[in-house]
């Protein structure tokens, strides 16, 4: 097996420079000063910014595609949910925060639909298992995380509050689709 056991370098004796405190303070100031001027340059010129702070909420960072925010329902062009109320997300959810009442529409293109679809966001832990279980791509994790409220009752999101049009969720849906063939051997031309 490569690699070995190494002993850490322990400074048993501190040199007189270090013992005097002052030279070490100056050394420390060099390090912090370096950071300060680098940050200042970036702050003033606006280029190659090295400071880490984002002026939230005016400035926001762009979350990566894999980011999981609160789960939402995908709405089709006619405003109806893509969901067919099969209840798989209800089963997959570890915290039982989803509750669905299925209904049927006679003669519609998609006959089954959720009459009620509630998610208790105060219990949801954004794990994404509902999205992974859904066989219709109807519930996806959005990029929305700012959902704090003053009371618990308003943490229960009903169907109307959860519906988001497909086009607004394009980035997430594309991300999920990238994973469609994950357990297949890739075509030989890719290698």
């Amino acid at each position: 097996m490569p690699g070995s056991v190494i002993k850490v370098k322990r400074q048993e004796k501190i040199g007189w420079l270090e013992r005097l405190y002052v030279p070490m303070i100056i050394k420390g100031l060099f390090v912090t000063g370096g950071h300060f001027f680098r940050n200042l340059r970036g702050f003033v010129t606006g280029k190659n910014r090295t400071d880490f702070v984002v002026q939230y909420p005016e400035e926001r960072v762009d979350y990566p595609s894999a980011f999981r925010g609160m789960p939402v329902l995908v709405a089709l062009d006619d405003g109806l949910p893509k969901c067919v109320a099969c209840g798989l997300c209800e089963f997959a959810c570890p915290t039982d925060c989803i509750s669905i009442v299925p209904g049927e529409l006679e003669g519609a293109r998609i006959e089954r639909y959720p009459e009620a679809f509630d998610i208790d966001m105060s219990r949801c832990m954004y794990c994404g298992l509902c999205e992974e279980a859904c066989p219709e791509e109807a519930i996806v994790m959005s990029r929305e995380v700012e959902i704090s409220t003053y009371d618990r009752q308003s943490m229960i999101f009903e169907k109307e509050n959860l519906l988001v049009h497909e086009n607004l969720l394009k980035r997430r849906i594309d991300f999920i689709r990238g994973d469609y063939e994950r357990d297949r051997e890739p075509p030989k031309s890719d290698v």
Partner: protein, 415 residues
């Protein structure tokens, strides 16, 4: 001894000599530290008996963050326990994910593809870097060194951004699955990762320049919180605490899991086992972990695209592409979500090297789709146990660095 002696001087002068030599009547002072104390990150209460500033006895009271993790896991399917393992050690969630999933895989006797193994090691080591940086950074902060804390946390933030890119969340990653991982490596990950590693290395240099040979910092750490090798073994202490006394036990080397036997990395050990050694061991482990991450990236590039999940549909939920187009896979999806994998009857223990030490999962299955027993061996709790021994006769101020380098994490310790 008649009256008229009311001035203090007279009375003292009059006292017999042996009386003067007798100690003042004093009692030990009992101090409650915590459960919410700014210098102890995490909810833990210390009951400290003090003689002046010297610690005579120390009682640690844990359990403030008890959420019933083990019972909670037994209430759902094997799959549904994975998000809960994120909440054990919230500094390195992926390590707990991997520990649990590998334990279930051991019971199921399934193998995962090679690409998945390397991905797991990659995620694992990123997690470890984040954990050690939090430990060292927070220790500096609590010893009143704010600057290195900011550098450490900035480096950790870079690592957690990588985790977000890979898993979808900074802290509660929920990335590992039984029989695989949630999804493969994002296309832009390798480039971002190499960039961040370079930045983390630069920040680590600054971090070390400010504290490693700084006398104020070194004086607080050297010779404090000592624990002998015998006591370490007696208390089953693992992780950086054990390696700091010079015992090179690292499960990645001694019981190689995943693909650690193919990776080139060193195990740092200390000499005497005080807080300074623990600090040096942690900092060196960060460097080694970054080395491992780079090797993983190289290897993943060499392996090329490929499956990252087990082929067995009983274990891993089928890929969506098949679920949408094939009836059998759709039925399989319904079956595996509503019921989940049925783990054969039996029991098993699997331990991995987490950032704090040996993190083990002892699982018992009665053959159903719900775990019969999920027992977690939390390194935090076991490493915390010899803390009174480390601090006997020490000053109260030594408690802070000692507790910091034990790195007790409430979520993992109290479960």
């Amino acid at each position: 001894m008649a009256g008229g002696r009311n001035s203090l001087t007279e009375r003292v002068l009059d006292t017999p000599e042996d009386d003067l030599e007798r100690d003042l009547h004093t009692e030990h002072h009992v101090l409650n530290m915590g459960p919410s104390h700014p210098a102890t990150h995490g909810t833990v209460k210390f009951l400290i008996e003090l003689d002046g500033e010297t610690i005579v006895a120390l009682d640690i009271q844990v359990g403030y963050l008890h959420r019933g993790f083990e019972k909670e896991c037994e209430s759902g399917t094997w799959y549904q326990a994975i998000p809960y393992t994120d909440r054990l050690n919230y500094n390195s969630a992926i390590l707990a994910n991997i520990g649990y999933c590998m334990a279930v895989e051991k019971l199921l006797e399934v193998d995962v593809p090679e690409r998945c193994l390397w991905l797991r090691v990659l995620a694992c080591e990123l997690s470890r870097v984040g954990d050690h940086l939090t430990r060292c950074g927070a220790a500096c902060l609590e010893l009143a060194a704010m600057t290195p804390f900011l550098y450490g946390i900035e480096a950790r933030e870079l690592v957690w951004d990588l985790q977000e890119l890979l898993c979808g969340a900074r802290v509660t990653s929920n990335y590992i699955r039984i029989g695989g991982v949630k999804h493969g490596l994002p296309a832009d990950f390798a480039v971002a990762c190499r960039e961040s590693i370079a930045k983390v290395r630069a920040l680590l240099d600054d971090f070390e320049a400010v504290v490693t040979s700084n006398r104020i910092f070194v004086d607080r750490l050297k010779g404090t919180g000592m624990l002998s090798k015998e006591d370490c073994i007696r208390y089953a202490v693992t992780g950086p605490l054990l390696r700091a006394v010079g015992e090179p036990l690292d499960l990645r080397k001694d019981q190689p899991y995943l693909v650690y036997d193919e990776i080139d990395f060193d195990v740092p050990i200390g000499e005497v086992g005080d807080n300074y050694d623990r600090y040096l061991v942690c900092m060196e482990e960060v460097q080694q972990s970054l080395r491992i991450v780079e090797q993983c990236l190289d290897k993943l590039e060499k392996l090329g695209p490929g499956p990252v999940n087990s082929e067995d549909p009983r274990v891993r939920w089928p890929a969506k592409g098949r679920v949408f187009n094939q009836m059998e896979e759709l039925i399989q999806q319904f079956k595996s979500v509503t019921e989940g994998p049925r783990v054969p009857e039996g029991e098993g223990y699997l331990a991995i090297e987490s950032a704090n030490g040996e993190l083990g999962f002892y699982l018992v299955s009665d053959g159903s789709a719900v775990p019969y027993k999920v027992r977690c061996r939390p390194p935090s709790l076991i490493n915390l146990a010899p803390m009174p021994l480390m601090l006997k006769g020490a000053l109260l101020a030594d408690l802070i660095p000692t507790f910091d380098f034990i790195n007790m994490v409430g979520g993992e310790c109290d479960r």
